[in-house]
């Protein structure tokens, strides 16, 4: 069984087609990259798969649940991190994690242990009682990721998680992604950093709402006869 299985997924806003009949599969524990220029339809696709938007036509199975009819069950089994940082800035690190953990119905004691563990992994134990607004952006992004996986979802959707973050934090962030994937979590990540695309198991390149290319980074490089994903992208856009 695939972790994510999209079938002719389409979203129209009026006459504008944001996502145009995309179909793809993602395996369990895979890190799948969504590449594409701004406005290619990546965010819309993610919003449909995470139950924030209903598709105009087509369907997708997320962790075995239908996005049209079983969005409640999907929501329980996914984590989501948007391109806009969206934890509460006027709550502390601990309060944010406690809030979201409680919404996912993690038992009180267990929740506290999980929060402390994940803060230890992030090396942010000292910041537990700091207001989120007053910590640096890179740390915020790591915190948002830790919060998104606190309830141990089967799939995590990351929408441009590293935009605006410095290279060192980006590297640390990808370490966290690998760590999660090694535990069997499926990761679907959008990015426009081409070096990050190299870290993915498989990538797809979207343009004008459609998936134009799909495969492992090596396959795509071979296919386009270039050395880096950056060149794949440039060559693709020029074509």
């Amino acid at each position: 069984m695939f972790s994510i299985e999209a079938n002719q997924l389409t979203k129209q806003f009026g006459t504008f087609t944001a996502v145009d009949h995309i179909s793809f599969q993602v395996n369990e524990g895979e890190i799948f990259g969504f590449l594409g220029a701004n406005g290619a339809g990546k965010t819309t696709a993610i919003k449909m798969m995470s139950g924030l938007l209903l598709p105009t036509s087509g369907t997708a199975m997320i962790a075995g649940f239908d996005i049209r009819t079983q969005s409640k069950l999907i929501k329980r089994n996914i984590g989501y991190m948007s391109q806009k940082f969206s934890l509460y800035g006027d709550l502390t690190v601990f309060e944010n994690m406690q809030l979201f953990g409680t919404i996912y119905k993690i038992p009180r004691k267990e929740l506290k242990d999980r929060i402390m563990n994940s803060l230890r992994e992030l090396d942010m134990e000292k910041q537990a009682d700091t207001l989120v607004d007053s910590i640096p952006l890179g740390w915020k992004q790591k915190l948002a990721f830790a919060t998104a996986i606190l309830h141990r979802p089967k799939i995590v959707f990351l929408d441009e998680p590293t935009s605006g973050v410095d290279p060192i934090v980006r590297r640390e962030f990808w370490k966290l992604i690998y760590l999660a994937a090694s535990k069997g979590v499926t990761i679907l990540v959008t990015t426009h950093y081409m070096d990050e695309a190299e870290y993915c198991n498989r990538i797809s390149i979207m343009s004008e709402g459609q998936i134009k290319l799909i495969g492992t980074p090596d396959e795509l490089k071979k296919k386009m006869e270039v050395n880096t994903i950056n060149d794949v992208f440039v060559k693709f856009v020029k074509r």
């Binding site: 995470s50 139950g51 924030l52 938007l53 209903l54 409640k72 929501k75 329980r76 996914i78 989501y80 948007s82 806009k84 940082f85 969206s86 934890l87 509460y88 800035g89 006027d90 709550l91 309060e95 406690q98 809030l99 979201f100 409680t102 919404i103 996912y104 119905k105 009180r108 207001l131």
Partner: protein
């Protein structure tokens, strides 16, 4: 349950960490309470009055004299002509002019209709209305005495009065005041006693009306304004998206927001009642639990309205404008500061949709009159129905908005 509790905790933490919101919640009401009742005062303490006596008879002198015995009237003396009076009224030196016509006394004895003209400066309409009322009372009283002394002669005295604004006078526009000229019959005049007792506000102390009005405005502001900004703010900063991907139910999320602001609103109302008692000396005449109960319902109406506005707005600015618009309509139509009796029929019909107009009725009835549940039952039912409708609307529109 645990979900809602953690949401309530979150909301309280946020309120108490937001200095601007806190000051809106705490400082603004206090300032309103401390300043507003002292400015919004319709009480008439002094009325400057002048006379034109074209009759120069004993009766006309008596009438003019009868005004001297009143504490509220300050006589600016006898004037020669209308032009002089006009000039004085324009410069705000007199509020009222009384003009006694030629042959007034003769006409009175000959049992013919005669009229005394009362002109009031209607720039201040409250002053003009109350002033002409007092004048009528005094002249009417004199006429009664006169009639009683001159029985069985059958006499009629009619008083008509006209309100004129000094400004309008020039253009020749006259506003006739709706003061009915009442013929006084000698046969029963001695028995008739004109007396004005203002019920439920015996001293005509306007603070008694203004202070409860401010209480209403306070509750409305907390309920509607603060919540209208709250949800849309989460939309703006993007946190609502993070909440929407969780399995939380929409009504749970709204309830988690509603309860904290409901508690805050009730606390503000309580504080308002305490201020009302100890600073303005107005204590609740009726049942306190009844008052709190209806206030709780009214708060739910306003909270629901706030969330409804919040869920249909794109940003805080938009929802602020909607609230401001509604708020002004509510206040002006509700009769919080202006009497609704003078409003046209269509305004009364609009008022059936105005929760504030029902609530101010309840407040006036329970706080000033001490009414029991029976006399506020209609208002309670209407407010309850409104609460259900608006809150259902809020949940539905929030659900639609996040699709």
């Amino acid at each position: 349950m645990r979900t809602i509790l953690i949401l309530i905790k979150k909301e309280f933490l946020q309120v108490f960490r937001n200095p601007l919101l806190l000051s809106i919640l705490v400082v603004a009401p206090l300032v309103e309470f401390m300043i507003f009742p002292f400015c919004a005062d319709y009480e008439i303490k002094v009325l400057n009055i002048a006379f034109i006596d074209n009759d120069r008879s004993q009766i006309s002198k008596d009438i003019i004299h009868s005004f001297n015995s009143s504490e509220i009237f300050v006589s600016k003396g006898l004037l020669d002509n209308k032009e002089e009076a006009d000039e004085m009224m324009k410069h705000d030196q007199i509020d009222l002019l009384i003009e006694i016509p030629i042959n007034f006394e003769n006409n009175l004895y000959n049992n013919e209709n005669t009229q005394i003209a009362v002109t009031a400066n209607a720039i201040n309409s409250v002053k003009a209305g109350i002033g002409t009322g007092y004048v009528q009372e005094i002249i009417g009283g004199y006429m009664q005495d006169f009639a009683a002394m001159h029985t069985p002669a059958n006499m009629q005295a009619a008083i008509s009065s006209a309100n004129e604004t000094a400004a309008q006078q020039k253009q020749g526009q006259r506003q006739a005041a709706a003061v009915p000229s009442a013929p006084i019959r000698t046969t029963n005049a001695a028995k008739v006693n004109i007396s004005n007792i203002y019920w439920y506000n015996e001293q005509m102390n306007y603070k008694n009306l203004i202070v409860p009005g401010i209480l209403v405005i306070l509750v409305t502001l907390i309920g509607c304004y603060v919540t209208a900004l709250n949800l849309v703010r989460e939309k703006e900063i993007g946190t609502i998206e993070q909440v929407n991907v969780t399995p939380i139910r929409k009504w749970q999320f709204l309830l988690g927001k509603m309860i904290p602001f409901w508690l805050l609103g009730m606390a503000e109302f309580g504080a308002g009642l305490i201020i009302m008692k100890f600073i303005f000396g107005i204590s609740v005449q009726g049942s306190l639990p009844l008052l709190l109960g209806i206030t709780a319902i009214y708060l739910f109406v306003m909270l629901g309205l706030g969330f409804f506005i919040s869920s249909v707005s794109e940003n805080q600015l938009q929802s602020m404008f909607i609230v401001l618009f509604l708020f002004i309509v509510f206040v002006l139509l509700s009769g919080v500061f202006t009497p609704t009796e003078g409003m046209p029929g269509w305004a009364h019909k609009i008022n059936y949709l105005n929760p504030m107009s029902f609530y101010i009725e309840v407040i006036k009835k329970i706080i000033l009159k001490g009414s029991a549940f029976e006399s506020v039952m209609t208002e309670t039912i209407v407010l309850s129905v409104m609460a259900v409708i608006i809150n259902t609307g809020a949940v539905v529109s929030y659900r639609e908005a996040s699709k």
